[in-house]
């Protein structure tokens, strides 16, 4: 039986990840558990060093966990061999990075098609490609190399690359971090649209409340642990969400005994 049929797109169970620097051990994730339902847009927030990016990398199978497990569409990534995990990631997970990470020697279209070109079982769906390019407004830029594109255009190419295989899950690591506010908001609108109109499941790491406001749920991390979770619908606008977020992450006042 296909485990993906009824399983949530993402299940994170008691995830632990430690980094060692010589004699020093840093606990990046400490028992993080999370379930993301199909079509849900989750924003992971937290201060620098809280474990946001580590969580995303472990979920993507780029970094192995020390403990716990990650189920994507019901498949345990840690149980797969590297080769199969890579193929699974290629077909089921789309990744968007802060620094775009396009191949400078390839054109925009070639960059979009990169995951398909790397997989013998995937063929180019020209109709889907044209729709993606048109939807992202890249029709006139498809033959340009990254150095001829603006930051916003580069990130849209990166989103197209993440969507070209029609993945179950989109993981975005601070995708607006290198963009101005206008381009950032436009990008969030596109992701939100994918979520609403196509039922795409998205997990986005950010420290910006204005970006998190586009999500349906916010997960707040602190020191490698889930500190809080809340629905964005509870707040009227980004400012209210920001205020709530700051209330959560603000250190508790020290009281005298």
């Amino acid at each position: 039986m296909d485990p993906s049929r009824d399983a949530p797109p993402l299940v994170v169970e008691n995830l632990t990840k430690r980094f060692r620097r010589g004699e020093v051990v840093i606990d990046a994730l400490r028992g993080v558990s999370l379930v993301v339902q199909r079509g849900e847009f989750v924003a992971v927030m937290g201060a620098s060093g809280s474990g946001k990016s580590t969580l995303l990398h472990v979920v993507a199978g780029l970094t192995p966990p020390d403990d716990g497990r990650v189920l994507v569409d019901g498949h345990d990534l840690a149980a797969m061999a590297d080769r199969h995990r890579t193929a699974f990631r290629r077909r089921h997970i789309g990744l968007v990075f802060q620094a775009f990470n396009l191949i400078p020697t390839l054109t925009a279209e070639q960059n979009i098609l990169l995951p398909i070109l790397a997989d013998k079982r995937l063929g180019v769906d020209n109709g889907r490609l044209e729709d993606l390019i048109a939807w992202l407004g890249l029709a006139g830029r498809r033959s340009h190399r990254p150095d001829a594109l603006s930051g916003g255009e580069q990130q849209r190419v990166a989103i197209a690359r993440a969507l070209v295989t029609d993945p179950t899950l989109i993981l975005a690591d601070e995708p607006t971090g290198s963009l101005d506010s206008v381009a950032g908001q436009e990008l969030c609108r596109l992701l939100n649209e994918q979520c609403r109109e196509h039922g795409r499941t998205i997990v986005l790491v950010t420290h910006e409340p204005s970006v998190a406001a586009w999500a349906t749920r916010v997960v707040v991390l602190r020191d490698g642990q889930v500190l809080s979770q809340f629905a964005t619908a509870e707040f009227g606008d980004a400012h209210a969400l920001a205020a709530h977020y700051h209330d959560i992450v603000r250190p508790a006042p020290v009281t005298n005994a």
Binding site: A60, L62, R83, T86, F97, I103, P104, T105, P115, A118
Partner: protein
């Protein structure tokens, strides 16, 4: 592979100059290998072709067994083959033809013109050009830049390899044609002109030349030639020319086997050969043709065994022996060693070029490679990308892609690598100086194991050496170059493997340069003439300067007549291996010696001797006295040092002289007469 090839091509297009330069460097290295190795292959191919054609219509040759004869000169053997061998061979049903040869050296062979040409004196014709021809003088010599032999003052001295009168470049020395007495009814090789010998009678002086000899003396069918031997001069008419195998394109150039039929021949009847040499015929080679279907190899084995069993000092040669004989020659060995060395050096250089270039490419794209892994490329695809890139650029090795970047934590590993490197470096001196083994094995193991371990050892040592150098000198260098020290660190230690590659490549180049300079100086220094040498040495190849013409040379403008000393130079092959040349052939260890004859009084005597040598042992007077008595001679100190077995009063040349065709006494090192080059 489509994504791999697309990424590789895109990256190569991005760095066209790097791609072009690296490819060019590797192509150049490959060209060096191909050039040198193809030279050796071509030489071997020539040997193959030559060996197949060398015996002409015969399959085998019987030669005297014993000390080797003078190499490459087509000279006859000194020890004759007993006539019984001919009779025994003739009785063998496997033999179709047996043709014994009587081979004798000549002093000089000169074309003297068409027969019965009136009005020409012998000398004038011998030295003069043939008005019908263009080309070198008819005796094959350039006569000191005196085309036509016209005596005139102010003639220029000849130089080695100088152009002949025709302007064609010629080698320094050609072997004189060998007189070959034969009773063969058919020519041993294909006739290219004229006919084979018709008469065995000595009163019909006719001869047939090999094409090489004909080219050498510029003779045609119908021409009359003058043969000069120890006994005197003799004229005969050329009736034919045969095409005889030779190396180097048809002339009497290049190497020849040390035994067997002469490659550069003047064929005459046996009776005529006896008349010319004034000696009874002594068979020193027998050409053997086999009947159809007889296996030459089994025949050779059978007869060699029989010769040994019955005590005949003879051996049967086949084309394979001829080829082997030539391959053992010095030049073939040298070319082979050169090809091995060039191959190794070029491969090493190419490898460092590849690693350095790959290292640059990988370091620059480390983030990009990580992203490719993230978007779905497997480890294998990324590795394949690097490998394909390497293959496209250079056709080798993704090692650098996997090489770890050096960090402070890696210092321990580098230290371990350095210790391992030092251990490997120590292997070489241990192999050379400590481990007991035969010299031949030591040389092979040194080359294969010692040099390899030393090279790997230095490569392993390099990273730590770079880090230590950086730590010690980077602050100073940063001040001198006005650079930030940390920036400098990122370019050296931060890109450690690139720095190591560059360092090793530079070290290799520097090492090669130093080695070549040291080798060149150390090898040439003993041969560079010092103050003791005369101002000018004039060479008269191809027969030397005729007696009586020395005065003409002395009268040349600029020559001090009283300071003009004739020298007689011969280079015989030594019968005894006094320099160990058979154990290991090098320039310094040779199987021959240059003998220089001179008037001892004029050369060494007086207050201002012509050859102002320093005697490191003994004294000048004793040397002159014993040279005058022709019983002993001084030896160069370099030669004496190289041949450690030589000691004063050793009879070093007796055995060699006994094998020389002209005979003569053995030579003894005069006590205390060992001249040495004067320093500076």
């Amino acid at each position: 592979m489509r994504v791999v090839s697309r990424l590789v091509l895109a990256n190569l297009r991005q760095h066209p100059a790097r791609m072009a330069l690296t490819s060019l460097a590797v192509i150049a290295a490959a060209c060096v290998v191909i050039w040198v190795v193809s030279g050796y292959d071509a030489l071997l191919a020539q040997f193959d072709a030559f060996a197949d054609e060398y015996l002409g219509r015969y399959q085998l040759a019987v030669v005297p067994e014993g000390p080797e004869q003078p190499s490459g000169m087509g000279q006859p053997a000194g020890r004759p083959i007993p006539p019984e061998v001919v009779h025994l061979l003739q009785q063998d049903p496997d033999v179709a033809a047996v043709d014994p040869l009587v081979q004798s050296p000549t002093k000089k062979v000169t074309r003297v013109g068409p027969p019965h040409e009136p009005g020409e004196s012998k000398r004038a014709v011998a030295a003069g050009p043939n008005p019908k021809r263009r080309g070198p003088p008819k005796d094959g010599s350039s006569r000191g830049g005196r085309p036509g032999g016209t005596k005139r003052p102010g003639m220029a001295p000849p130089t080695s390899g100088a152009s002949s009168a025709s302007g064609a470049a010629r080698p320094f020395s050609w072997p004189r044609p060998t007189l070959v007495g034969t009773g063969a009814q058919e020519p041993p090789h294909e006739m290219v002109q004229g006919t084979w010998l018709k008469s065995a009678a000595p009163d019909r002086p006719e001869g047939v030349l090999s094409d090489g000899a004909a080219e050498q003396i510029n003779a045609d069918v119908g021409d009359e030639v003058l043969i000069e031997t120890e006994r005197g001069e003799f004229r005969l008419t050329i009736v034919g020319i045969v095409r005889q195998a030779s190396l180097g394109g048809g002339g009497p150039r290049g190497p020849a086997p040390s035994r067997g039929p002469a490659a550069n021949a003047m064929y005459v009847s046996v009776a005529l050969a006896e008349k010319i040499t004034g000696e009874p015929a002594k068979i020193n080679c027998i050409n053997v043709a086999l009947t159809d279907g007889v296996d030459a190899e089994s025949f050779r084995r059978r007869w060699n065994e029989r010769f040994r069993r019955e005590g005949f000092a003879a051996a049967v040669l086949d084309p394979g022996d001829v080829k082997e004989d030539m391959e053992q020659g010095f030049s073939a060995t040298r070319v082979r060693n050169q090809s091995y060395a060039a191959t190794g050096i070029s491969l090493l250089a190419a490898l460092f070029i590849i690693l350095t270039t790959l290292g640059m490419g990988v370091d620059e794209r480390i983030r990009q490679l990580a992203m490719l892994r993230a978007v779905g490329l497997t480890r294998g695809q990324v590795a394949a990308m690097i490998a394909v890139e390497a293959l496209v650029i250079t056709r080798v090795s993704p090692l650098e892609a996997m090489a770890p970047r050096a960090t402070t934590q890696a210092t321990r590993h580098l230290t371990a690598a350095a210790l391992l490197g030092l251990t490997l470096i120590a292997v070489n001196p241990l192999l050379v100086f400590v481990v007991p083994m035969a010299d031949e094995s030591r040389y092979g193991i040194y080359a294969a194991l010692g040099c390899t371990s030393m090279a790997v050892g230095f490569v392993l040592l390099a990273p730590l050496a770079i880090l230590l150098t950086e730590r010690l000198f980077a602050p100073l260098l940063a001040v001198v170059l006005r650079l930030d020290r940390r920036l400098l660190g990122t370019q050296l230690g931060g890109n450690l493997w690139r720095t190591v590659g560059t360092t090793v490549a530079l070290s290799l180049g520097l090492g090669l340069f130093v080695a070549m300079q040291t080798w060149g100086y150390s090898m040439l220094e003993p041969f560079v003439p010092g103050d003791w040498a005369p101002d000018v040495l004039v060479c008269f190849p191809y027969g030397g300067l005729p007696e009586g013409e020395l005065d003409d040379v002395a009268r040349i403008e600029g020559v001090a007549a009283e300071r003009c000393l004739p020298l007689a130079v011969e280079q015989p092959k030594l019968a005894e291996d006094i320099t160990g040349s058979r154990e290991r052939q090098t320039i310094a260890r040779q199987d021959n010696v240059v003998m220089v004859g001179f008037d001892p009084e004029r050369a060494l005597g007086g207050a201002d001797p012509m050859l102002d040598a320093v005697f490191v042992e003994g004294n000048r007077e004793d040397a002159i006295e014993r040279l005058r008595a022709a019983t002993a001679g001084p030896v160069h100190d370099c030669r004496r040092r190289l041949a450690a077995r030589l000691a004063l009063d050793d009879e070093v040349l007796r055995a060699a002289a006994a094998e020389r065709p002209f005979g003569g006494p053995g030579f003894r090192l005069a006590r205390g007469c060992s001249p040495r080059l004067r320093p500076g």
